[in-house]
């Protein structure tokens, strides 16, 4: 291979061995380049949609943050204003608002990916190209979610004000970024899946929002109702059932103290099972994962550990890690399902 290979118009150089050829830039580009993603990005950036999305996310977020900051800075006690709980409160509020906006945007960005092609009568034209169904799905998804993911990064400075106020570390910021991005991806995939299943974009959008609402709000709502029921009717059972949440929030000591007196109350096997199910359940929800992850980070708990709770060794996995696993899995499954739906469409 000569150095100025690319500039010559000379006859082509002898082919490198097959192994190297597979790694040549052209091959790699052909393998990973997705024409659909480039085209979609171009088309998306052209319309007003890109601005609408950016404004929908950044404007309310900046508004909430600004309002909170003004409230905080107007507090009479300056020392209190720069204290830990205020920073945490700011961070929690801003992040929750951002999560809500993402849940609003992600399905809206993806619910028309396939059904929109169908409605525009361009789907057949895509399906007769040699692109694989997965390439079509991934290409469209990357373009639709790419802009949202970039926006989430752009919103980071707004969240980072909490670090300036104090009480929030960079780890929390990183974890929140991870959770927000994964939420956007997963619920984007939900929209994508419904858009492949349903004939119309409107139907796909409706089902996507229902799914998102159930996924993000369902579990916290159920917990709230459970706690409320417990408070009203005083059923101890409920309390026992919710112990994994308390464990994740407060650490093993607290729970150990509680159950140290009557260890027989909880069967070790049941406890193990409940711990696993409880953690996994929590990992399906961005809100609960955010809260429990923050608690874990504050308490300095390791990412993975064995914790002794009421004489039982339980495996603790940092909620954000489980959340990442669960959401990547779900997103992957949804992409696969969407590609399969596209394949079946032509059967």
């Amino acid at each position: 291979m000569t150095a100025n290979d690319t500039t010559t118009v000379a006859p082509p150089a002898p082919l490198p061995p097959a192994g190297l050829r597979a790694l040549s830039p052209d091959r790699l580009r052909a393998r990973f380049a997705n024409p659909l993603a480039s085209k979609e990005l171009l088309a998306r950036m052209r319309g007003p949609r890109a601005y609408i999305v950016a404004i929908t996310l950044l404007l309310p977020l900046a508004g909430v943050a600004g309002l909170l900051y003004m409230m905080i800075s107007s507090l009479p006690n300056a020392e209190f204003a720069s204290s830990t709980p205020v920073g945490k409160l700011f961070f929690a509020t801003v992040t929750t608002v951002e999560l809500g906006l993402i849940c609003l945007l992600a399905p809206a960005l993806t619910a028309d990916l396939i059904s929109g092609e169908r409605e525009r009568r361009t789907l057949d034209l895509l399906l007769v190209t040699p692109l694989s169904r997965r390439q079509i799905v991934v290409g469209k998804l990357v373009a639709a979610l790419g802009s949202l993911l970039v926006l989430i990064v752009l919103a980071l400075p707004i969240q980072a004000v909490a670090v300036l106020i104090g009480g929030v570390g960079w780890e929390e910021l990183a974890v929140s970024l991870l959770i927000l991005m994964l939420t956007a991806t997963t619920y984007g995939c939900v929209g994508l899946y419904w858009s492949a299943c349903l004939r119309t974009t409107r139907g796909a959008l409706l089902l996507s929002y229902i799914t998102t609402l159930a996924g993000v709000g369902g579990l916290p709502l159920a917990f709230m109702l459970a706690l409320l029921g417990n408070g009203l009717f005083g059923t101890r059972n409920m309390d026992d059932l919710l112990w994994p949440l308390a464990w994740l929030l407060n650490g093993p000591q607290w729970l150990g103290n509680r159950y140290s007196g009557n260890a027989q109350v909880l069967n070790p096997v049941t406890m193990q099972l409940e711990a696993v199910v409880g953690q996994l359940l929590m990992a399906t929800n961005p809100l609960l994962t955010g809260v429990t992850s923050a608690a874990g980070l504050v308490a300095g708990r390791p990412v993975i550990a064995l914790e002794r709770v009421a004489n039982v060794e339980l495996l603790y996995v940092a909620p954000w890690l489980l959340f990442t696993g669960v959401h990547l899995l779900v997103a992957g499954a949804l992409i696969w399902l969407t590609a399969r739906t596209l394949r079946r469409m032509t059967a």
Binding site: L36, K39, L42, T122, D124, L125, L126, L127, T129, T346
Partner: protein
Amino acid sequence: MSEALPSQPCGEALTPQPCGDALTSQPCGDALTSQPCGEALPSQPCGEALTPRPPLPQVGEGERDTMNRASTTGSSVGARFIAPDAPTGAPAATPDVVPTSLTPQPPLPLAGEGELGGEGFALEARGLHKRFGRMVAVHDFSLQVPRGAIYGLIGPNGAGKTTSMRMLATLLQPDGGDAWIAGASIRTEQTEVRRNLGYMPDFFGTYAELRVSEYLDFYAACHGVPAARRAGVTDDLLALVDLTHKRDSYVEGLSRGMQQRLGLARALVHDPAVIMLDEPASGLDPRARLELREVVRELGRMGKAVLVSSHILAELADLCTHIAIVDGGRVLADGRVDEVTRRLNGGRAVRVQVLGEGESLRDVLLTRPDVHAVQLEAGEYSAAHPGAADEPSDSPSAAGMVSTGADERAGASAGGAPAGSGMATVRFVLDGDEHALRTLLAELVAANFPIYGFGHDTGGLEDVFLQVTRRLGDTPT
């Protein structure tokens, strides 16, 4: 030559003379030679034989010479597909609008060549079957499209044309049967099929946010055309479909006809060996139709196999080399146009154009045992009988020819041969093949009939179509 007046039976006002019209049209092959039009090498394309023909009166005298190249349509419209930089006075035999991105003789990787009987059809379907619920949409659909053929798929709405095409385009899995496109099975080698097939659906949308050149570039990329070649491909195709001036316009702003042409260009981005056009002319005005037709012809000249469907016979009549009549989800008749006509008429539909009144020619023909259904249409082009030009041989008279199959003079009564100098057209059905046709022509010329046109009669298609579909109605499927 004043021939371009609406004398054609096909309904299109500006349609060109069909292949094999004139005695000089040797290579056209429809009637005089056994060489099929579509299978001929692109260097002797159908319709080229009539060149050089001077521009028609309505074409401005100052128009460029290349206009002559479009003389197959006999109108100025067709010339719009000639690349502006086309060499003037180029030999008619070499199509000068062949874009470099389209290979004139596509390399067909005919994997299943042995399986396909060694003849290497560009497209072959065997017993395709598709049902939707209890409704059988396509039943035993079989077809063989040779390379270079322009294959017309004709049938009424709901005949199963679109379903068949969607199956061939790998958009619909057949319930039974199989088909091969450039040797690749639509069941098992779908990616290979998609590489070799350019498909234009009957209805399709566009991406409004893209510019015309970006649109083609995008589909070229989807088809794996290397980035370095895409710009060239886009330019060539835009020139082919005459959209170069719209290169930077948004697709949204194009007219229906332009979008249709863009759609056709899209189907060609990967230089496919087989092209399928589903009702390409639907919703187009006559001018756009002519333009589209000219492009399709051009593709045939390049040796591409083109499968084009329509429910309007006139659209395909003088465009196609082959034809398949489809109804009730099955192919009722298929083959070369003249073969189909002959098979169904029990002979070969022939049209002879003669100077003079033509009655003596008719009388001679009537005495021959191998000639049936003789009709005389007189004075088509005669200035003395301008009204007669309004009497093309449309279906009523022609249908009579088919249904009686005897020496009926139904058509003759309408025109009435003009006395003195004029022109007449005699239509008849001849038993026998090309040799019989040749012999007959030799005899007629030897007998000093002032024949100026002798050829295959495409007007018969209309009757064939009616006849075949009627027959289907009689027999329970």
